[in-house]
């Protein structure tokens, strides 16, 4: 296996990072400048806030699925748990005391982390599709549990009134978020929410970046690529698998808590099966085992609707094509699912490494060692590479995997 170029923090990269952080810091005010006012407005600030929320949530999923190889279709359940814990704390306080936002969100994150850590235990024996099913069960069960008032068991009516805490089917209405008095007049509500979300988002992205390049990150990747090999090298499988779940729970909890704060409304239907699956789709689309990929995944989650609208806009509404192509509003409406799915399928066939993979290909950079590992992403290019490898192997060699695979790795990315 080729040793890829290590990503050193060159001067250029640091400069780029600083510029990006500056952009993030002033974004909510940009629309007052003449040039930016053309396409930025408070609605974009709202979208940017949403983007920040999804970034936090998807980073957790990326750590769990992209780096540790544990497929989780139930990540939305952890987000919902975090959201409700934060919401209840903000609404009802704790033991009579008012709970400030940051404490509520942090508590939500820690609680969800602990819960996810424990949930990792039954997941230890499962992998691949079986783990996917188990996590799917989680997200299917949770909305119902959040609405639960009572249920029958062995002929008895048990009043486990969870709905009293969660607001039940009608959801939980929270207090409106407001900037502190000292900043009154300098920030609007929306700008304040943007900072409330972006600061944790930046911090947690940095955290994730650090984790992936640390001992824990190496253990995660080892577990993903080869459990037997990892154990041989002294990695405590159980502990690290559960830690992976716990970390994803931390991110999900913080993201969910901030979600509840920014929306001031929480419904059991806000995070359900389809959302959970879409989150995984977003992570894969962005690029597995890649922090930049997660950024793109979060962009996808925040701008899905606009992307689909843009794609429908590409269909020419020429008169003679009427009847063969969707042309009217009504047609676009009814075919919306197709406009969403077909580009997705086409994209993933030709770019299985996601957007981050595409960037890597275009940039000519070799994949980092944790991306080039046994992360099996087969795409047409990869298949072509394997065919070529077998051809080169000839009739004498049986296993083309043992062949030098430099060009195949590049093709796979």
């Amino acid at each position: 296996m080729t040793r890829s170029v290590t990503r050193t923090l060159t001067q250029r990269r640091v400069l780029a990072l600083i510029l990006l952080l500056l952009l993030v810091a002033v974004f909510p005010y940009l629309y007052t400048w003449p040039f930016f006012g053309a396409f930025l407005n408070p609605f974009r600030t709202f979208q940017a806030t949403r983007f920040g929320l999804w970034l936090i949530i998807l980073l957790g999923l990326q750590l769990l699925t992209g780096y540790s190889g544990q497929i989780s279709l139930g990540h939305a359940a952890l987000v919902a748990v975090g959201a409700y814990v934060a919401a209840v704390l903000m609404n009802d306080g704790f033991m009579g005391q008012d709970v400030p936002v940051a404490v509520a969100v942090l508590a939500a994150g820690l609680f969800t982390a602990a819960l996810a850590f424990l949930l990792g235990a039954p997941a230890l024996r499962l992998s691949g599709p079986y783990l996917a099913i188990a996590t799917l069960a989680l997200i299917i069960a949770l909305p119902q549990m959040l609405k639960l008032e009572s249920f029958s068991f062995a002929g008895q009516e048990i009043h486990a009134n969870i709905a009293r805490w969660t607001g039940g089917v009608e959801g939980l209405l929270l207090d409106r978020p407001r900037a502190p008095g000292s900043l009154e007049g300098m920030v609007t509500e929306r700008q304040w929410l943007y900072y409330e979300v972006m600061v944790p988002a930046v911090i947690m992205t940095f955290m994730a970046w650090n984790i992936t390049r640390s001992r824990i990150g190496r253990a995660f990747v080892a577990i993903r690529d080869t459990e037997v090999g990892a154990e041989q090298m002294g990695v405590n499988l159980a502990l690290y698998k559960m830690t992976a779940f716990g970390l994803s729970g931390l991110y999900a909890g913080v993201g969910g808590g901030l979600f509840a704060y920014t929306e001031a409304f929480m419904s059991p239907d806000s995070f359900e099966v389809v959302k959970s699956i879409t989150m995984l789709v977003a992570v894969v689309l962005g690029g597995m085992a890649s922090i930049i990929g997660t950024v793109f995944g979060a962009l996808f989650m925040a701008f899905q609707n606009e992307m689909v609208d843009a794609f429908s806009g590409l269909i020419p509404s020429v008169g003679f094509l009427e009847g063969y192509l969707p042309t009217t509003e009504s047609d676009f409406q009814r075919l919306r699912g197709a406009f969403y799915s077909i580009p997705l399928i086409i994209f993933i066939i030709f770019a299985p490494g996601g957007v981050a993979g595409l960037i890597r290909q275009v940039g000519g950079a070799a994949p980092t060692w944790w991306q080039a590992g046994r992360l099996r992403v087969t795409g047409l290019a990869a298949l072509a590479g394997q065919v070529r490898a077998r051809w080169r192997a000839g009739p004498d060699r049986t296993d083309p995997v043992d062949q030098p695979q430099d060009s195949d790795e590049e093709k796979q990315a």
Partner: protein, 445 residues
């Protein structure tokens, strides 16, 4: 190792500092309005303030209306054809009457996947990016719950919304008007019917574990509390569950004399079919108003559904002899040829007709206030497929307050008895016939 520890501490310090800064954020008590005169989003100095006469979404030639509907990624996307019904009628008015006071109606639909978090995004986009004049026909209880406060605060009319949660229309909010039968009125009507016809009997309830079903079940329990009807079984189900055989079996085990299905057409049809065909159970069924349509009969099987009772306020699409239904089918065929007419498109067209009525009442000087007042001025109005009249007033934001019970006979819903009014704004019309013709109280049927 030491370097790592130092880095770790530094990181922890940064995180803590960040959190301390953030924890300064306060919260406002819910209900406290921002200072008078300051809009929810303050304009920074130097930005243009909007001209007083400029009404968002209204020009001399166009009115822009918006709504959120589940178009994809949810089983609820079957209800998206309601938007087609709305648009078809507005296209018809645009073409035949040139719009209302010379302004043509344009309709944008945002896809919220029936997810309240997405509804917030969609509605904000409609209001802030597309600058719609009003939200008309927004669908979904949980979805609307997420955006009613925002719309109220921004002063955007939320008209004829598709949801029956009681708090949508009580207390009355100036810019918000309901459409469907609200759950309180529906349960009152059903409870009265049950007390009259099933006195002393045992009742089973199947309810969808969402806002509509659970609230309905609780209200029904409350309404029948002091009566001689005993509720012996309550079975909840989640709307993603496809197979309701276990629920039906559990209902049967509790041996009720009749069953109330507070469920959507899919579930209701499934339960009826299973009960009749698989479990050989001939218990009478009462259905929620939402299932009083052809879908339930189709899913249950006409023979199985025979005798099922429900309440409605509109004419069935199967009443092809009725002039109003014929008109509806004509308009759909001409302006939405790819969408089959159904009770859902009828409902959509009702919304569209009410909107046009409100716009006409509002007069040529169109603002959001005049639109809402125009809607409140609707009295004794019979839409094309209404079976009962619609009355609104400044204190009555519920168009549907009269019900007419109907029963499945030979595979079709047939109304029986007299319309029952829970109307808080009494009018002179008691029923509707033909293509929007009112039937007055002193007329003979």
């Amino acid at each position: 190792m030491l370097a790592q520890l130092r880095r770790g501490f530094l990181l922890a310090a940064v995180v803590l500092a960040g959190l301390l800064i953030l924890s300064c954020g306060e919260e406002e008590e819910a209900g406290e309005t921002p200072a008078a005169g300051s809009p929810a989003v303050t304009e920074p100095a130097g930005a243009e303030t909007p001209v007083a006469e400029e009404v968002p979404g209204v020009t001399d030639t166009e009115i822009l209306l918006g709504a959120h509907f589940p178009l994809s990624q949810s089983p609820a996307s079957a209800y998206a054809v309601i938007a087609d019904g709305q648009r078809a009628y507005w296209d018809y008015i645009n073409e035949t009457e040139g719009g209302v006071y010379g302004r043509k109606i344009k309709f944008i639909v945002g896809d919220d996947h029936y997810n309240p978090a997405d509804t917030v995004e969609v509605v904000r986009k409609l209001v802030e990016q597309d600058k719609v004049f009003a939200i008309v026909g927004g669908l979904g209880d949980p979805c609307q719950l997420a955006v009613i406060d925002y719309l109220e605060e921004e002063g955007v009319p939320d008209l004829f919304l598709g949801g029956g949660v009681v708090k949508f229309t009580d207390p009355v909010v100036k810019t918000r008007i309901g459409m469907t039968l609200d759950y309180g009125t529906e349960v009152d009507a059903m409870a009265d019917y049950i007390k009259e016809n099933y006195s002393g009997k045992r009742m089973g309830i199947l309810y969808q574990s969402d806002t509509a079903g659970t609230t309905g079940m609780e209200m029904m329990t409350e309404a029948l509390k002091d009566s001689d009807i005993e509720i012996v079984s309550r079975q909840g189900y989640d709307f993603v569950e496809a197979d309701l055989t276990p629920h039906t079996q559990r209902l049967k085990n509790d041996n009720p004399d009749f069953v109330d299905l507070m469920a959507n057409p899919g579930a209701a049809g499934s339960v009826i079919k299973v009960a009749r065909e698989v479990l050989d159970w001939d218990v009478p069924f009462i259905l929620s108003a939402v299932s009083a349509n052809e879908f339930t009969i189709a899913l249950a099987g006409a023979a199985n559904a025979e005798g099922a009772v429900s309440a409605t306020s509109g004419k069935m699409i199967s009443e092809v002899d009725d002039a109003g239904v014929q008109r509806h089918i004509e308009i759909m065929k001409q302006y939405a040829p790819n969408v089959g007419p159904s009770s859902l498109t009828e409902y959509g067209m009702n919304i569209a007709e009410l909107t046009v009525q409100a716009l006409k009442n509002a007069g040529p000087n169109l603002t959001r206030e005049s639109l809402v007042e125009g809607a409140e001025a609707i009295r004794d109005y019979c839409c094309l497929t209404c079976a009962v009249p619609i009355n609104l007033s400044p204190t009555d934001h519920r168009p549907s307050e009269t019900v007419w019970f109907d029963r499945v006979e030979n595979g079709k819903w047939v109304r029986f008895g007299e319309p029952i009014s829970y109307e808080s704004t009494p009018g002179k019309v008691i029923a509707c016939k033909g293509a929007g013709e009112p039937v007055y109280a002193d007329e003979e049927e």
